[in-house]
Amino acid sequence: MNTALGYYVATIAVYFFVYVILELGYNLQYGLTGIRNVGNYVFTAFGAYIGGVLSLGPASTTLQTYILGATLPYPLPLVLGGVAGAVVAAALGFLFLYRLRAQYQAIVTLVVAQVAWLVVGNWVPLFNGYNGLAGVPQPLASTLGLPPVEYQFVFAAMSGVVALVCFGFMQRLARSPFGRMLRAIREDDTVAATFGKNVFGVQMTALVLSGFMAGLAGALQIEFLGAWSPSTWSVPEGFVVIAALIIGGTGNNWGAALGGFILPVGIYELTVLIPAFNSPGVGSTVIPALRWILIGLLALAFLWFRPQGMIPEPKPAFPPRAVSIGTPDATEGAEVVS
């Protein structure tokens, strides 16, 4: 295999695994629990930053400014990246899960993401501002001492293991009593609360777990790319994660994985990489613009033609909520409620 192709395949593989982790996490939040969070990419971002600064070493030895600089033994930066995502998720959860009406939940998450983006970008001592972090060392590269291409494959394999563990965990969780409770809350949190479920606690647990996975994905990305800045995690990138889950299938881990393949890998990364091989005669922004338009239209098409996604959620274990029982006049009861 030639070097360019090797890099290419390994890169695609890493992206696939990273997005599988992201989509599984987002599926836990939105697909299973019904949490309306548009700011999920903040968890990823903080996972990446923490994973980065804990590998970069003290800030005094680099030309960048950031907090917490250290060189922790691998895989501690990765794990702590996940923890960072979980902590941010918990903080966000306290803000928006507790007392917000449904329509406002999404707005608040978007606002928090925007504020985080502004603060990280402008407050240079935190994570080096808009320039972001660069020169993050690849984990275990010096220990392994492999040629670069082979190292790429090792990294891909490692991401694959993390993705596989997440997938196994999510499959077990979805089938567990806890998973059933998540779906019950998604269908109707008032009813769930009436039956004595601690809705806030359960949603919070789901959000924190999901934040952990998003943080892991972020840490993997910064380790692979070696750099991370606010331009890597702007609003459109956040949209890709949501759109991919809609396309793959909400509420289904296989759907989440498929979505992680189709949108971020199949369309996003392929269109990023293909023009790099054929020297472009078109303006540098045309291909990316077309790619984003395609992603947006694809999401709209799925929302219209197949809102359940390519692999729909399996049939629920309990019958759907009945509108009315035993009367020939179901509409009357429903009208009065509305």
Binding site: S324, T327, P328, D329, T331, E332, G333, E335, V336
Partner: protein, 226 residues
């Protein structure tokens, strides 16, 4: 008012109202009372059955067209525009009328419901339940409908207001309006109805002049606690 009798029929459950009559529909929760009324008003699609207005088939007409043809419907809950003022609500009731007519009818409605006059520039959302229901009826009266369909007009009202409202309804009928109403207060609804229907499980159980039904033992057992 035209000199014709207004007639409304629903098949399966057959319902008929003559000009100047009060027709009450009572029945337990879920009997289909409100649904029946909404179907007549054109708010719900009918699978089969016909609605005749003065002998003319109006079954396929939508709610807004029926409103123009003289069927005024006062829904149980969403009967006014909450963020519009009382005056604006009345003006919306006369949306299709020329401005001088609107002014004239507004005066008529206000003299019928004098409680609304001091509240003219208040938002409808700030009205009490009774005032709000009067505004709902007043809004519909702007079009001078031949038939007035009232869905549980007294729901949520205090006993005094219920009495006031029912007196207004009697007055409206005296003036030649046809009133078809669904009511929870069975005793009151029956005592002032010229004709009444008792709906149970989507079918007519009893029908007859209101006062006669009041004495019926079956109905007494069902609604009046006798």
């Amino acid at each position: 008012m035209t000199g014709y009798g207004s007639t409304v029929i629903v098949h399966g459950v057959s319902l008929r109202a003559e000009e100047g009559q009060i027709v009450s529909i009572i029945g337990p929760n879920g009997a289909g009372k409100s649904t029946l009324l909404k179907a007549v008003a054109g708010q719900l699609r009918k699978q089969s059955g016909r609605v005749l207005l003065r002998g003319e088939d109006v079954s396929t007409l939508s709610h807004d067209v029926l409103a123009r043809r003289g069927i005024g419907f006062v829904p149980q809950n969403r009967d006014v525009f909450p963020s519009l003022t009382v005056e604006e609500n009345l003006e919306m009731g006369g949306y299709l009328l020329p401005p001088p007519v609107v002014r004239e009818r507004k005066e008529e409605v206000l003299s019928r419901f004098p409680q609304l006059r001091p509240a003219l520039h208040r938002r409808a959302s700030t009205l009490s339940g009774g005032e709000r229901k009067m505004l709902g009826v007043g809004r519909v009266l702007m079009m001078k409908p031949d038939v007035l369909l009232l869905d549980e007009p007294s729901a949520g009202l205090s006993p005094e207001y219920t009495q006031t409202l029912l007196q207004h309804i009697v007055q409206l009928a005296k003036e030649g309006n046809t009133v078809v109403m669904v009511e929870q207060h069975a005793a009151e609804a029956l005592s002032l109805a010229d004709w009444a229907y008792v709906l149970v499980a989507g079918a007519t159980r009893h029908e007859g002049p209101g006062r006669m039904l009041l004495e019926n033992e079956d109905i007494g057992a069902m609604f009046l606690g006798k």
